[in-house]
Amino acid sequence: MWDRNRSEGYPLRRREVVEHLIKDLDDLLIVAGLGAPAWDITAVGDRDLNYPLWGAMGGAAMIGLGLALAQPDRRVLVITGDGDMLMGMGSLATIALQRPPNLSIIVLDNERYGETGMQATHTAGPVNLAEVAHACGFEQAATIYDADEFDQATPAILEGEGPIFFDIKIRAEEPPLILPPRDGAHLKDRFRMALLGPAKGVNPAI
């Protein structure tokens, strides 16, 4: 079974989901996977503690792990897509073994590869990423299909004991591009400056 069109009928919309999750949460450390998730967090408002990826496919969750281990007192939220997560499924095993209590991973699962022309991914078929995460050892891992389930899951995503994984089924659509800065060193440096302060942020020797 590979239903390549069903996600066009899913009720949840990606921009609304992301805005609902992160709006006005200034302390949240956000890593966004390449493509649409990076545009989604930027649509809510570009901020220094956003780390939107323009590449690194398969790596979003692991960047989140390194960040969560380094900043155990801050909530780290990885927002990525099904394509990125499928490429990095092994990272779910690695993260489950480390059990970072401050790390939440959400997959905006439109069952499509958006950047290459909206081709169907494996999640349009039999693959269930939340079950993969659960099988790896995530105690909180579930698939969300509608607004009620999303509302119920939101406190856990933002404050629950991690590692937390939710696969959020969203409608296949292509909202307007709202692009973050492209320069990788700038994105890194501004994040470190905002998180660590200007001295340590720009001068690693300190």
């Binding site: 450390l29 890593v31 780390y51 990826l53 590449g55 690194a56 496919m57 398969g58 790596g59 979003a60 692991m62 960047i63 989140g64 792990l65 390194g66 960040l67 969560a68 281990l69 380094a70 900043q71 990095g88 092994g90 990272s91 095993a93 690695t94 073994l97 480390q98 990788g184 060193a185 994105l187 890194k188 994040f191 470190r192 998180l195 660590l196 340590k200 690693p204 020797a205």
Partner: protein, 178 residues
């Protein structure tokens, strides 16, 4: 191989402590066994076993974003898995320190190890690394210290290639049977 336990892994560990390395991403490796065990037992370090090497590259980007220092321990055969993720760190001008035990060099008996082993340094240099070759155990401490300084203070990707001459080559059968 020498009959007494090699001390160069102890020297690497001490050098990593001196660099204030807190996160150690690794894949299991015969050459790094002793070092990995020391890292796993150190309360000031978080040693993270990976399922594939490029996950460690991505993880260490997050480590640096969060204000800590890390290291990636792998075998030369893992370099090829990392190439795309190296580009993420390069474009971000991130530091990266990786300590790579070499296969496919001195005395290698597994032909499958030869392609990555022979091309390791060239691939790393094409990916933007500064490459240090460690062949003499007595140079261990200063090589790690120098590589770490360049990585973490100059925002540079640095690879230390630990020679198969130092580690010893893997034996697949008793010599007398060949």
């Amino acid at each position: 191989m020498t009959e007494t336990p090699a001390t160069w892994p102890d020297n690497i560990f001490a050098a990593l402590k001196a660099l204030d390395v807190r996160q150690v991403a690794y894949v299991p490796d015969a050459g790094h066994t002793r070092l990995i065990e020391m890292c796993l037992h150190d309360n000031g370090m978080r040693a993270v076993p990976l399922t594939t090497e490029e996950d460690g590259v991505a993880m260490l980007a997050g480590t640096w974003l969060g204000g800590e220092r890390g290291v990636l321990l792998m075998q030369s055969s893992g370099i090829g898995n990392c190439v795309n993720m190296f580009s993420t760190l390069r474009v971000g001008r991130y530091p990266l320190l990786t300590l790579i035990t070499m296969r496919g060099q001195w005395g290698e008996a597994n032909p499958w190890q030869l392609p990555m082993g022979q091309n390791a340094a060239a691939i790393l240099k094409l990916s933007g690394f500064q490459v240090h070759e460690l062949e003499d155990a007595e140079m261990t401490t200063e090589t790690i210290a120098a590589g770490g300084r360049t990585a973490f203070e100059a925002n540079q990707m640095v690879a230390v290639l630990i020679s198969q001459r130092l580690i010893g080559s893997k034996a697949f059968a008793p010599a007398e049977s060949n």
